[in-house]
């Protein structure tokens, strides 16, 4: 079942490559949050430790509810709802994303030959981390960068499953709080940029150079 959820996670990455709308990005975050929470909830049935349920509930709350709701709020506040495209669609991005996903699974397969890793979750995690990085590089809008960062974080969450490394639940929850505060601060920064400097479209933070 974990494999099914992580393959679905990879499909959201492909969707990420074919859409340019911010609202679709938020939907992807909600889906990924639910999938990652599902993976943690599944661990409860094999281990029966309450900590799995606590972490799954915290993931569900922060990643599928609080953070997406906050991003939607920013989109509305900054009036980015209409014409919310991060840039024009480019088929090359889809090819790159597909390459990233295939490459991640190849790496995972090779690695599994000499060390114990779960091939599919590990491959999905590496794909998530690389896809988030790709999104940051390919999209110029700051909000898209935040989404890219969150996708990297989702990949990181899966990585723990892929390499079968269990963190103490307190640290998982504290990490989620950190993530929420980080997104909150990034949202404030984007808000400040728009309200103090309305001429900036969120893609002009290039003044500081040597």
């Amino acid at each position: 079942m974990i494999n099914v959820l992580t393959i679905l996670f990879c499909l959201t990455l492909i969707y990420l490559a074919v859409t340019t709308r911010l609202s679709a990005y938020v939907l992807i975050l909600v889906l990924q949050g639910a999938l990652v929470a599902g993976v943690h909830a599944l661990a409860f049935f094999s281990d029966f430790s309450w900590s799995h349920l606590i972490v799954a509930a915290a993931v569900l709350l922060v990643r599928t509810l609080l953070i997406p709701a906050y991003i939607v709020k920013i989109i509305r506040q900054l009036d980015m709802g209409h014409g919310d495209r991060t840039r024009r669609y480019h088929p090359g991005f889809l090819v790159q994303m597909a390459g990233v996903v295939v490459g991640a699974f190849l790496i995972s397969h090779q690695l599994s030959r000499f060390t114990p890793v779960n091939v599919i979750p590990f491959g999905a995690a590496v794909a998530g981390i690389a896809a988030g990085g790709l999104l940051i590089v390919r999209r110029r809008l700051l909000l898209a960068h935040v989404v890219g960062f969150l996708i990297i974080e989702n990949g990181l969450f899966l990585l723990g499953i892929g390499v079968q490394a269990q963190m103490p639940w307190m640290i998982e929850v504290a990490g989620l709080l950190d993530l929420f505060v980080l997104v909150f601060l990034m949202g404030i920064a984007i808000n400040q940029l728009k309200s103090h400097f309305p001429e900036a479209d969120g893609a002009e933070l290039t003044a500081l150079q040597d």
Binding site: T115, F149, L159, A165, I171, A174, D178, L182, L193, L208
Partner: protein, 485 residues
């Protein structure tokens, strides 16, 4: 108990008080009180080498932690003493909100950094390290300009991305210990004890990720841009805090991982990585120090250089590790003096451009005097502390017979010395474009000059007399890394 109270209870109390109180004077006094209590507690830990926390906790102060706590609280107290004059001169309604947030953020910064220095659990270290980034956001964004906003954004983004790498490193560290120790506990001491049995492949991967990730926070090339932008756009006291203590805190986290790696067969690999990162940082800073036209960015690149020297010293090991630790301490002294004076110069000239600074000696004689001294200090002129710490690093390279690193190091230091001299001496001696510049208000000696002078001068007796209170602790740290001098 009193030590724990001063380290971990007073800073949050001071934070809450500063949020609640609207009096800047009361906030400054409470913050100063918290800072002094923290400094005394840190010095107690450093000198006594006692752990104030009960054994078995995730929190502990070892000699390494005691040394870094002292650097943190000493820089903090200097910054709090300098802050009233800075806040007084930033007049205008646009700064009201920033001023309101200043002391709460400063106290929260102290708390967050203290947590990093006392936490002894690798995964928790990652969590609290992010708190130090959050605490800086309102401080870097103090001026609320587009530049400061860009600096905040880049800093938040790059450092957080770096911390993602650190988390991957923590996961890999856990995997390397699978079947060897209770890896889910991630306790520093247990990992260090079990180090020789860890899986070398995963440990190697872990160290690579941790080094790359922490480079953004430490300010090592090529992950330095976010840190340079933030330091150069932050107000003077905040820049001093970042250059003097925040980077040290991140170095401590790296040293915690290196403690584990240092007891395994992959130590030579980790040393090569650190030497490479150090030399690359010194080379990058040499290039940008030559090219720079902004004196605050110049100081930010000087930090990249000095953190590079520290990474190099850790990588070389032996007596160079002692040099690296001393360099951390002395760099925090020098950066405080330089950034305080940079703040005075910025207030008077309203510009950060080197070209715009003329007649400094006539217009700001006291600031120019301390600025000149701090310049001699930071380029490693005797008898200042940096000279001695660099000498230890050099000795380490000679002992290790690493002639390539030695020659590169000396050549790059020469380039940096000339580059810094060009800029600093120009600022001190360049005549005004007007033939007879009007000196409106001749600068008077004030607390900022005394603080700058103290910061520069205090290193001299420490380096020359090598007081046992400090050096016994340094030797205990070296012993933890397997170095006996």
């Amino acid at each position: 108990m009193i030590t724990i109270f001063a380290l971990l209870v007073l800073p949050p109390i001071a934070t809450v008080f500063a949020i609640w109180s609207s009096s800047a004077r009361a906030n400054q006094r409470v913050t100063l009180l918290a800072g002094i209590a923290h400094l005394l507690a840190s010095l107690h830990c450093l000198v006594s080498q006692e752990n104030p926390f009960p054994s078995g906790w995730w929190l502990a102060v070892d000699p390494l932690g005691g040394f870094f706590l002292t650097i943190l609280s000493h820089t903090f107290v200097l910054v709090v003493l300098y802050s009233p004059s800075f806040l007084q001169r930033t007049q205008g309604a646009e700064y009201d909100h920033s001023k309101r947030l200043f002391y709460p953020a400063l106290n929260f910064y102290l708390l967050a950094n203290t947590l990093v220095l006392v936490v002894q659990q690798f995964a928790m270290l990652w969590v609290v390290l992010e708190l130090t980034t959050f605490s800086l956001v309102p401080l870097i964004f103090f001026y609320r300009t587009k530049d400061s906003l860009e600096a905040v954004w880049k800093y938040l983004f790059l450092v957080s991305l770096g911390l993602v790498f650190v988390f991957v490193g923590v996961l890999f560290l856990g995997i390397s210990a699978r079947g060897v120790s209770d890896y889910t506990a991630f306790i520093v001491s247990r990992m260090t004890e079990a180090a020789p049995q860890l899986n070398p492949l995963w440990l190697k991967a872990s160290f690579i990720f941790v080094l790359v990730g922490l480079s953004a926070k430490i300010g090592l090339a090529p992950m330095h841009p976010g840190d340079v932008d933030a330091t150069s756009n932050a107000p003077a006291p905040v820049a001093a805090l970042m250059a003097g203590s925040l980077r040290s805190t991140a170095v401590l986290v790296l040293l915690r991982f290196y403690q584990v790696v240092g007891r395994t067969d992959i130590q030579p690999f980790a040393q090569k990585l650190l030497i490479f990162a150090g030399l690359l940082s010194i080379a990058v800073s040499a290039i940008y120090i030559w090219r720079n036209r902004n004196y605050k960015r110049l100081l930010a690149y000087s930090s990249v250089e000095h953190l590079g020297i520290i990474a190099l010293g850790v990588g070389i090991g032996g007596v160079a590790l002692l040099g690296a630790l001393l360099h951390l301490l002395f760099n925090s002294f020098g950066k405080a003096a330089l950034f305080f004076m940079a703040g005075n110069i910025h207030r008077s000239y309203g510009s950060r451009e080197i070209e715009a600074i003329t007649d400094l000696q006539r217009r700001l004689p006291w600031s120019a005097f301390v600025w000149g001294l701090a310049f001699l200090y930071i380029v490693g002129t005797p008898p200042f502390g940096i000279f001695f710490s660099e000498l230890f690093v050099l000795r380490g390279m000679i002992h290790a017979a690493d002639w390539l690193s030695l020659s590169l190091f000396l050549a790059l230091l020469m380039v940096i010395f000339i580059g810094m001299s060009r800029a600093m001496l120009r600022m001190l001696h360049a005549p005004s474009a007007n033939s007879a510049p009007a000196v409106v208000d001749r600068e008077r000696l004030n607390l900022s000059h005394a603080l700058g002078f103290y910061a520069v001068a205090a290193s001299v007796p420490l380096a020359i007399f090598q007081p046992p209170a400090l050096f016994d602790s340094l030797h205990a740290i070296l012993a933890a890394f397997g170095v006996k001098l």
